[in-house]
Each structure stands twice: as structure tokens, then as C-alpha cells.
């Protein structure tokens, strides 16, 4: 055996062993514990279209995050001015990037201007101007801070969503940021997608606000420091929804970010689930003060601008625990506890893409894809064997090698196999023998010219080489572009296609050649079976 052939055979064999090593975690249902320590653990993942699941793309309303932080600035200024006994007419957010402060006289305005300059140096301050006989000024968030804030909001939303999903319990979820304000969430094998979507998409902003009994909800004029919210109640028997309007104080007494824990409990008396919440020390102190000062009054538990319930404060509550009860089922109570624990989203998110595949369709796709693949392979194998006889069988061997290598490579990369990915593999079955067809036809021609089998073989491989390179490179160009721009299933297609094309170059130019060389190297073969 020539030295070169020996090398090539070792290389081919080494790749086969490697492929099977990498494929073992994918194929074996259970691996011995020592396997992962020094052998590859990655396996081929099934795309959502094959195993079923949900793919979500969410858009974070980053503008709302800015508005939220400006609202905080406004509240903070109010408190500061109040504590310094500076009288003001109005402090509020105006538009999407400004806070406007209106005071009664020029003297106060100058003090306030200076105060703002010290406290919020990064904000752009306007000179004072006249507003209906009062003195007004604005502070505007600068462009860079706004960008920072938006960026942080998306990052924070991502963390919060990750938290919620972890607590909801999904195996192998993918949560990624995409572009400026998109978050991509993949939940493979999820059983109740709608529930998960509701859980993830909820802003979950919890506020405790005092009810303003002095203003009638139907009066039509509501003062600036109050707002009209609605309490929704669902009749458990009929499912009918009724809405009760309630006027509450705009400024919350306590907010949900002061929570440390939220758990589902079951009321022993009525056997009703409720959510028990724990405040941190600041929250506990505030809650203690507020309840002590307002015994006998009502406060509203507001969740995402809907009043969840508005109970009467019966007594002072110290110790920092409280409970949210209402018409919960066990599931809705559990979901509320999760979102309260994981925290509120810094800004609302909107679901802009939702692709859900049921598990039965996924399994169906796998079965059919494999079945079609098997038939494709069989057809090609038989055709090649009939058309090119023994040489055809060698090409078939190359094709099988091709598939083994490709699967091994997919496993090594931990790639995701999608249905179009399976299609790409089947397509490659056809393409991989193409190179051999080009070579064989050339060999036949050379044989017809009267060359010896060995000479014809070498000439065939040499002359077909460039043609094969050309056809592979053009396919590779499109595969690369598809990979760059495709998402989900299309990306899976591109991965399989490009890997397959590269591997095919190796198997058709080296793999099958070696086999021929083995048969022909002694020059005894007088006639080639082609």
C-alpha cells in the first residue's frame, strides 16, 4: 500500500471515530457519568419546529422607561421642594423627555434653578419662562443619558424575563437580546404557551395607592394628583366581567420594588388561594407608618394600572408582611407570585412575533423528514449501484461517510437541527454523489480513449477537480448569505448546507479516491467496474 494512501485512510478512519464520539450524546439516551469529564457532551439540538415549543420576539417600549424615570424625578423634586418649604404650583413630566416645574414667583424660581443644577447636573436646564402668569422651567434628559437609560431598560427587562422563565420552569430556554430593543425568547417543549406568554409579557408593576373617597368617580373632574382606575371582578360562576371605577391618589404609597418575597398560600377558612408578600425593611417601615395613619380608610392594590382589590385598613400592620387576595385560581395566584418575585419590567413589552408549534406536529415532522430522507438515500444508492456498478457503490460509501461526518459536525458544534435542515441533508445526499458522477463520467471518457484503469482514474480526478470546486463554492456562497440573514428554520438549513458542502469536498476528493487506490494500486486490475 502506498504511503500516501495509508495516511488518507487513517485520516478518514479518525474522522469516523470522531464523528461517532461526538454523536454519542445525541444517540445514547443515557451516558455514564464519566463521559462528560473528558469526552464531548454537546449534542444536536432539535429546532422548535421539530420538538414543538414557542418562539417569541418582544419589543421593549424603551420610551416608557424614560418616561418612568422622569416621573420619578418629578416625584423626587416634589418631595425635595416640600421639605425645603419651597412653594410650587405644579411639577410634572411633560412630553416624553422633559419635567416642567411651575412656581409662583421669581425668587423661588432662582432657588429652584440652583437646586436642580446641583441635584441633576446631567439634565439640560432651560432658563425660566412665563407660563400663564407663573414662572416655569424645564429640565430635559440629554440624548446620551436617554440612550443609556433605554439600553439599561432592555437589559433589565431581559434579566426579569429570564428570572420569570426560570421560576416558571422551562427546560433549556433561550433568552437573548436582538438588535436595539428586541428580546428573543425560545421555550422548547412548552405545554401551555398562552400562560407562559401572559407571564412573560406582563409588566407586573405593583403599587399601593390610597383611595380618594372624597371624589366621586362619576364627577368628571378629577384633580391633578388623583386618577381614575378600574377594579375588574370576574364572577366565577358566570364568567361575566364587571368594572367598578375608583378614584385613587396618583402617587403610590409603596411600590412593588420594595418586595422581597411573594408566595402562594391557601386560605384555611375558604380554601381560597392568595399571594402572601414580604416587604424589605424600608417597605416594612413605610407600610407600618401608612397603615397606622390610615386605619379605617381604603387603599387600592394596583397591578399594571388595574385595581386588583381595594380593602379597608382594619388595623396597623407592622412586621412587613401582607397578603393579596381575590378571585384567584391556583394557577393565576402562582403566576402572580412569580412575577412579583421576579420584579416588574422596567418598561412594557409588546410581543411582535409568536411562533408556536405543537409537540405532535413536531414529532410528525421528524418522522416524515427521516422517512423522506431514508427513501431519498435508498433511491440514490440503488441508482448509483445500477448505473456505475462497483464504482457506484464506492460513491454510495462516500455519501454515507458524508452523512456520518455531517451529523458528527452538527453535534460537535451543538447545532440546531430544523426541518429545513433535514431537507438540506437529504438534498446533500443527491449533491454528494454529484461530484462522483462528474469524476466517473470523466473516467469513462478516459477509459474510452484506451487508458489503463489507474491512469484513467488519476486523470478523472485531476480533470474533474476544478469543476467540483466551482460548483461547491457557488453553493457555499448562498449558504453563507442565508446563514447571515436567515433566522430559525432557515438558519438551520444554511448550517446543514454549508457544513455538508465542505464535508462533501473532502469525501468526494479524498474518501472515494482512497477506496479506488486500494483496489487499483498494484495495477493488476485490467477492467474497471464503472
Amino acid at each position: 500500500m502506498p504511503k500516501e494512501t495509508g495516511w488518507r485512510i487513517s485520516l478518514i478512519a479518525a474522522f469516523v471515530v470522531l464523528s461517532f464520539l461526538y454523536l454519542t450524546p445525541t444517540l445514547a439516551s443515557k451516558l455514564p457519568s464519566w463521559w462528560g469529564t473528558f469526552l464531548p457532551k454537546d449534542k444536536i439540538h432539535l429546532g422548535l419546529d421539530l420538538q414543538g415549543g414557542t418562539h417569541l420576539v418582544m419589543e421593549v417600549d424603551t420610551q416608557k422607561a424614560i418616561e418612568g424615570s422622569l416621573d420619578l424625578v418629578a416625584t423626587d423634586l416634589e418631595d425635595t421642594l416640600n421639605s425645603k418649604n419651597l412653594r410650587f404650583k405644579r411639577i410634572s413630566r411633560s412630553g416624553s423627555d422633559k419635567v416642567t416645574v411651575v412656581v409662583y414667583e421669581k425668587g423661588t424660581a432662582d432657588t429652584v434653578l440652583k437646586l436642580i443644577k446641583d441635584k441633576y447636573p446631567t439634565y439640560e436646564q432651560s432658563p425660566t419662562f412665563d407660563e400663564g402668569g407663573f414662572v416655569a422651567m424645564t429640565l430635559r434628559v440629554n440624548e446620551k443619558d436617554a440612550q443609556d437609560r433605554k439600553d439599561k431598560a432592555v437589559q433589565q427587562a431581559l434579566e426579569t424575563i429570564r428570572n420569570r422563565i426560570d421560576q416558571f420552569g422551562v427546560s433549556e430556554p433561550t433568552i437573548q437580546r436582538e438588535g436595539i430593543n428586541h428580546i428573543v425568547v425560545q421555550l422548547p417543549g412548552i405545554k401551555d404557551p398562552q400562560r407562559a406568554i401572559d407571564l412573560i409579557g406582563r409588566t407586573a408593576r405593583l403599587d399601593f395607592k390610597m383611595v380618594r373617597e372624597d371624589i366621586s368617580p362619576t364627577s368628571g373632574t378629577i384633580p391633578e394628583d388623583a386618577e381614575l382606575l378600574k377594579e375588574k371582578t370576574v364572577d366565577p360562576a358566570t364568567g361575566a366581567v364587571s368594572e367598578i371605577p375608583i378614584v385613587v391618589q396618583k402617587k403610590p404609597m409603596i411600590t412593588g420594588d420594595l418586595l422581597t418575597d411573594a408566595q402562594v398560600r391557601i386560605d384555611s377558612q375558604f380554601n381560597q388561594p392568595y399571594v402572601a408578600i414580604e416587604f424589605n425593611s424600608l417597605g416594612a417601615k413605610l407600610f407600618d407608618q401608612v397603615t397606622a395613619a390610615n386605619v379605617g380608610k381604603r387603599f387600592a392594590i394596583v397591578l399594571d394600572n388595574n385595581i386588583h382589590s381595594a380593602p379597608v385598613i382594619r388595623e396597623r400592620i407592622s412586621g412587613g408582611s401582607a397578603q393579596i387576595s381575590g378571585s384567584f385560581t391556583e394557577k393565576t395566584a402562582a403566576d402572580l407570585a412569580i412575577v412579583l418575585r421576579a420584579g416588574a419590567l422596567p418598561a412594557p413589552v409588546k410581543i411582535i412575533q409568536n411562533v408556536t408549534v405543537g409537540p405532535s406536529l413536531g414529532q410528525d415532522s421528524i418522522n416524515k423528514g427521516l422517512y423522506a430522507g431514508l427513501i431519498g438515500v435508498l433511491l440514490v444508492v440503488v441508482f448509483m449501484a445500477v448505473y456505475y456498478k462497483l464504482s457506484g457503490l464506492i460513491a454510495d460509501l462516500g455519501m454515507i461517510l458524508n452523512i456520518v461526518y455531517l451529523m458528527g459536525a452538527l453535534a460537535a458544534l451543538g447545532a440546531t437541527l430544523t426541518l429545513p435542515g433535514i431537507a438540506a441533508i437529504v438534498l446533500l445526499v443527491g449533491m454528494s454523489v454529484d461530484s462522483n458522477v462528474i469524476i466517473f463520467e470523466r473516467i469513462r471518457e478516459e477509459l474510452k480513449l484506451g487508458k489503463s484503469p489507474k491512469a484513467a482514474l488519476d486523470a478523472g480526478y485531476d480533470k474533474a477537480f476544478l469543476t467540483i470546486m466551482d460548483s461547491h463554492i457557488t453553493t457555499l456562497i448562498t449558504a453563507a448569505v442565508l446563514f447571515q440573514f436567515g433566522t430559525g428554520p432557515v438558519k438551520g438549513f444554511a448550517v446543514s448546507l454549508s457544513l455538508g458542502v465542505i464535508i462533501n469536498l473532502f469525501t468526494s476528493l479524498i474518501g472515494t479516491k482512497v477506496t479506488f487506490d486500494l483496489f487499483l494500486h498494484k495495477g493488476k486490475v485490467k477492467k474497471m467496474s464503472i
Partner: protein
């Protein structure tokens, strides 16, 4: 075994007929592309935005009944399609917002077909902003891969061959658009993927033919262009057919057994493989002959 013995077919001589056929195909294809660009073709919701659901019912369900049920519950604009095996129904609603429509459809069916329960096999909801982005990305992908292929061919072959190969490739892509447009099949992301794949693949056959033509041009500098080209095509004819045949077999088994999700995708591949084979013989080479003869004619005139 050999499919064909030695053939002597005058492919170049048939160019009048083949050019007319290809022109018709291309024009229909261009109309199809324009309609796609205008959004007037049967667009998949991945481009148009909207909701698509596949429902699997327990008992057979007629499209007319389903449509009536949706109408009754205030869903007027829905595209319904039946999938033959297993009582499956495809519901497509273009341009609607994410979230609500799919719930409304499910509620409507639950109410109207109380005795025929169903499960949701798959549901896809795509907001308009995603559709826009995808359209742009796809356009960029198509342009980039075309450019890449053209540049590669221009580098590997001389200009005239490059023109022939590029036109043949575009012809193949247009043919796929033409067939899908005429059959009113859905133009979605998978279809575009198939088109780009074929754009890369169909060159294989063209390259095989071109390589041989080049080889023979070098060997035989005096012969008439038409003869050299015809001989070359005939010499590699069985190779052209066999390479296409193997891919065709694989694509055909996907088409027949691969299931409904990739049914149209494999159909597009099948069309592409067929047209790609045709174009490498009947489009690419004759164009090069035309260009070569014109160049020769000019040389003779100036000499």
C-alpha cells in the same frame, strides 16, 4: 450502464425555440416578482405580517362550514385551506395584530363546532414591523448572494461565460417565481431559501458544460463556434442529466414523503433542479455562442 450513447443533438441550433420559451418563462417570472414586490402575490405572513394557524380537528370539517363559523363571529378576512391528511385546517389572516386574532379564531371554532374538538398544531403570529425587517433582510440576502455568485463566475470564467451563467441563473430563479405565481402558491421565507439554494446549485450544471467548452476551445482553435459548443454539450450531456437526476431523486422523496411543512419548499427545489438543467444546456451556452460570434464578427470586420 449508460442512459445515453453518443448523442449528436444540435442544441445551439434550437436556440430560437428555446429563447422564446425562456423569454416567456422569464416574463411571467418578472411579473411574479413585481407582484411579490407590490405585496399582491400570495404572500406568506412572515413577509406580510399576520396570523397563521394550523388546527387539527377530530372529525372532518368542510371549508365552507369553517368560513361560515368565522363569519358569524366577526372574522371576515381569513384565508382557509384544507390539508388532506388528518382533518387539518390552515387559517391565515394577513396584517392583523399579534395576540387577539388567534384567540378569536379558537373561540369561534370552540363555540360553533362544540362536538368537533381541535388542537392547535402550530400558530404563527408576526407583527408588521418584523415583516418589514424580514422583507428588507431577504432582499439584501438575495442581492448579496447573486453578487457573490456573479463575482465568482466573472473571476473563474471570462466575461462572456459570466454573462451566460448569470443570465441562466436569473432565468432559473425567475422560473421558480413564475411557477409559484401561476399556481398561486405562497411566497414565504422557505420559498426564498429554495430560490437562493437553486441559484447556487443550478450553476453546477452550467459549470460542467462551460468547463468542457473551454477545454475544447483550447484544443480546437479553428472549428466553428457552433460545432465546438454542440460537441461539448453532447459530450457532457449524460453527466448533466445524471447529476440532476440524483438531486432530483432526493428532492422528489422530500416532496412526496416530507410532510406538509416542507411540501412547497421541496416543490420549489424540484422545479429549480429541472429548470437549472434545462437552462445550462439551452440558455447559458447559446448566449455565450451569441456573444462569441458577435465578437468574432467584429474582429473580421475590423481586420
Amino acid at each position: 450502464m449508460e442512459l445515453l450513447g453518443k448523442t449528436r443533438i444540435d442544441f445551439i441550433g434550437m436556440r430560437k425555440i428555446s429563447f422564446i420559451i425562456s423569454a416567456i418563462i422569464s416574463i411571467v417570472g418578472i411579473i411574479g416578482v413585481i407582484q411579490v414586490g407590490r405585496g399582491a402575490a400570495n404572500m406568506g405572513i412572515d413577509f406580510s405580517g399576520g396570523t397563521a394557524m394550523q388546527l387539527k380537528f377530530n372529525k372532518p370539517i368542510s371549508i365552507a362550514d369553517a368560513r361560515a363559523a368565522l363569519h358569524k363571529n366577526g372574522i371576515a378576512k381569513a384565508d382557509l385551506q384544507e390539508i388532506k391528511d388528518g382533518n387539518k385546517l390552515l387559517v391565515k389572516m394577513a396584517g392583523a395584530a399579534v395576540g387577539k386574532p388567534s384567540e378569536m379564531v379558537q373561540a369561534a371554532f370552540k363555540k360553533e363546532f362544540a362536538d368537533n374538538t381541535f388542537t392547535v398544531d402550530s400558530s404563527t403570529e408576526i407583527g408588521p414591523s418584523i415583516g418589514d425587517k424580514l422583507r428588507k433582510d431577504t432582499l439584501v440576502a438575495a442581492v448579496l448572494s447573486m453578487l457573490g455568485i456573479i463575482m465568482y463566475i466573472a473571476w473563474r470564467f471570462d466575461f462572456k461565460f459570466g454573462v451566460g451563467a448569470t443570465l441562466a441563473t436569473m432565468h432559473d430563479c425567475l422560473a421558480m417565481f413564475a411557477v409559484f405565481y401561476l399556481m398561486n402558491k405562497e411566497i414565504n421565507l422557505l420559498f426564498i431559501t429554495a430560490v437562493l439554494t437553486i441559484a447556487g446549485y443550478s450553476l453546477t450544471d452550467t459549470v460542467v458544460v462551460f468547463d468542457r467548452i473551454r477545454e475544447n476551445l483550447h484544443k480546437n482553435l479553428k472549428g466553428a463556434m457552433n460545432t465546438i459548443f454542440n460537441d461539448s454539450i453532447n459530450e457532457v450531456l449524460s453527466r448533466t442529466i445524471v447529476t440532476s437526476l440524483t438531486v432530483f431523486l432526493a428532492a422528489a422523496s422530500l416532496f412526496l414523503f416530507g410532510g406538509e411543512v416542507i411540501h412547497d419548499f421541496s416543490l420549489a427545489l424540484l422545479i429549480g433542479v429541472l429548470v437549472g438543467t434545462y437552462s445550462s444546456v439551452f440558455v447559458a451556452s447559446p448566449i455565450v455562442v451569441l456573444l462569441e460570434n458577435r465578437a468574432l464578427g467584429k474582429k473580421v470586420q475590423t481586420a
